[in-house]
């Protein structure tokens, strides 16, 4: 049984097509990662599924309830943590969670106990009685996540839960999400980071311009786009063609070379030992290298492979999304 099911979701803002026929399917107890650049329609999809906005066309059910016809039922079963931590800055962490608990109708006593419990669990106990404006970005995000699970909803929507966080806070938030899912929560997570989807999601839907462009498990996607990338910057543009020639012999997929940035990038398989081979081949050829490294594929690589263009954000579409 799917806990989140959307068919042909369309949302138009005048000329801008934020969503253009998106299907989603999240089975109970799994995480779906909705991966895409800014303006791809991720937030719009979340806003429709959480009853904040109406779809122009298409249908969606969450926990068996139709988001347009019975939004009240949907709201009882979901928790939402938005892209911009929606916590009240002037209230303390405790007051924020207590208020949300009251508004979920947990009752005065239960709301209080639950607020303290969550502050403990999210490592905010010491800061619990300080106004949120004194919190760091990571603390705010954790508080926002805590707010989403105050009533232990079976379904969670996390809209870019780690955007703008430093690596350490990001790892913390990931751990929190993993713990939640271990308890059986169903999660729809949007992200711009391939690594995040890879780390957390059972199933990944890549979207661009409001449409699905790829769908599969992290492994299936990696098979599609190749694994690690070798990325090198040579010392002069004149070296690029020669470097390209050498790397091409070892590349596991399509190679990109750009003389202006003096960069050669290619997917390779075989990890460190392959990297060493390429390194010595380059060295033997006497090509001057400014910088060379092995890195994991990024959202950009996914888009280049799948669509032939890089993951450019569209400012116009993004402002619409934010306003909505």
């Amino acid at each position: 049984m799917s806990t989140i099911e959307a068919t042909g979701l369309v949302k138009h803002y005048g000329e801008v097509k934020a969503l253009d026929g998106l299907d989603l399917n999240v089975p109970e107890g799994t995480i779906l990662g909705l991966l895409g650049p800014n303006g791809a329609g991720k937030t719009t999809a979340v806003n429709i599924l959480t009853t904040l906005i109406m779809p122009t066309a298409g249908t969606a059910t969450v926990a068996g309830a139709d988001v347009v016809k019975s939004p009240g039922k949907v709201r009882k079963r979901i928790g939402l943590s938005g892209q911009f931590a929606a916590v009240d800055e002037t209230l303390t962490g405790f007051e924020n969670l207590d208020m949300i608990g009251r508004l979920y109708h947990l009752g005065r006593q239960t709301a209080r106990v639950r607020a303290r419990e969550l502050l403990d669990r999210f490592d905010l106990a010491d800061a619990g009685d300080r106004p949120v404006k004194t919190y760091s970005g990571g603390m705010r995000r954790r508080l926002d996540l805590a707010g989403a699970i105050v009533a232990e909803p079976p379904i969670l929507f996390l809209d870019e839960p780690t955007t703008g966080l430093d690596p350490r806070s990001r790892t913390e938030v990931w751990q929190v999400i993993r713990d939640l899912v271990a308890k059986g929560t169903t999660v729809l997570l949007t992200t711009q980071y391939l690594e995040e989807a890879d780390q957390l999601a059972d199933d990944i839907v890549v979207i661009d311009h409001g449409l699905e462009i790829a769908h599969g498990t992290a492994d299936e996607l990696k098979a599609m786009i190749g694994g690690e990338r070798i990325e090198m910057t040579v010392t002069s543009p004149a070296e690029v063609p020669r470097a390209r020639e050498i790397v091409a012999q070892y590349a596991a997929g399509e190679l990109q070379a750009d003389e202006r940035s003096r960069k050669v990038v290619a997917p390779i398989s075989g990890g460190a030992s392959m990297f060493r081979q390429i390194l010595s081949a380059i060295d033997d050829a006497g090509i001057g290298v400014f910088d060379i490294g092995l890195r994991r594929p990024t959202l950009d690589d996914v888009f280049l492979t799948l669509t032939g263009h890089s993951a450019e954000s569209e400012p116009a579409a993004e402002t619409e999304e934010v306003r909505a």
Binding site: A85, A86, E89, L91, R102, L103, H105, P131
Partner: protein, 265 residues
């Protein structure tokens, strides 16, 4: 529990949150308290001595108008507060919760009454210092303050609606001036309505801000003894006319705002 009970409880939770915010951001409170003092002093000393009201004091005449104007300005906080919550994404969180759809607005308009209570207290004290007096006893005075608060409450529903449709806090501050200035100036707040020319006079005579001001002046006993009787019905029956407006404004703008809040865009 039934829906109405939940709506009341949810509104209480929201109002409580707003009260905490009032306490924690003393800058706003300072402004709320200082601007009435400024208004009273400004009008009392700049205009108060330069305009003659036969048989009475312009300063006493003014205070009722300043009370009315200030509580109406106070309603702007409702719109600004809502616009701020919208901008910061808190409203989206509220809208995703299984709470009553009217609570955010009912709680907000209720907690904003505090601003007006405080500014009325401050204005009354300042007024007493500069020579304004209550001549008609306690009950009439209490009624006058109640009328001011009730009208301000109704008007905060208008601003709530404005707060929900404008995109940001900056816009609401400008938008509210467009509404509030004509309402409070084309009225008998600072000059007798009969002194205004043609169409403005008619507007002023039927303007609820005029009837509110008139009602307050009568209840405080601030109308000079040989002032001619008003010639239009609203100013002859200012209390009744103001109460009708209070009911009509709430009846229109409360459902309109709740509907706007409830409806997914």
């Amino acid at each position: 529990m039934n829906n109405l009970m939940w709506a009341a409880l949810d509104s209480h939770v929201i109002a409580k949150r707003n009260v905490i915010k009032i306490r924690r951001v003393p800058e706003v409170l300072m402004f709320v308290l200082v601007s009435p003092i400024m208004f009273v002093l400004l009008f009392a000393y700049v205009f108060g001595d330069s305009i003659d009201i036969p048989g009475g004091s312009y300063r006493e005449f003014l205070i009722g108008g300043i009370f009315a104007q200030t509580v109406i300005f106070g309603a702007t906080f409702t719109g600004a507060g809502l616009a701020d919550d919208m901008q910061k994404g808190i409203i989206d969180r509220f809208r995703s919760l299984p709470m009553s759809r009217s609570a955010v607005l009912v709680g907000r308009t209720a907690s904003d009454v505090i601003y007006n209570v405080l500014s009325l207290i401050i204005m009354a004290i300042t007024g007493l210092i500069v020579g304004w007096r209550i001549h008609n006893g306690f009950i009439d005075a209490a009624l006058a303050f109640a009328l001011l608060l009730a009208f301000a409450y109704a008007f905060s529903w208008v601003m709530a609606y404005v707060g929900l449709i404008v995109p940001s806090v900056e816009v609401i501050n400008n938008a509210s001036f467009v509404v509030i200035f004509p309402l409070t100036f084309v009225a008998n707040t600072f000059v007798p309505a009969e002194n205004l020319p043609g169409a403005l006079q008619t507007f002023a005579e039927w303007n609820p801000v005029s009837s509110l001001t008139q009602a307050v002046r009568e209840l405080f006993g601030n109308i000079p003894p040989n002032t001619p009787e008003p010639t239009v019905w609203p100013l002859q029956n200012p209390i009744l006319y103001t109460i009708i407006w209070i009911i009509v404004i709430i009846a229109i703008f409360a459902p309109l705002s709740v509907n706007r809040y409830r409806k997914p865009r």
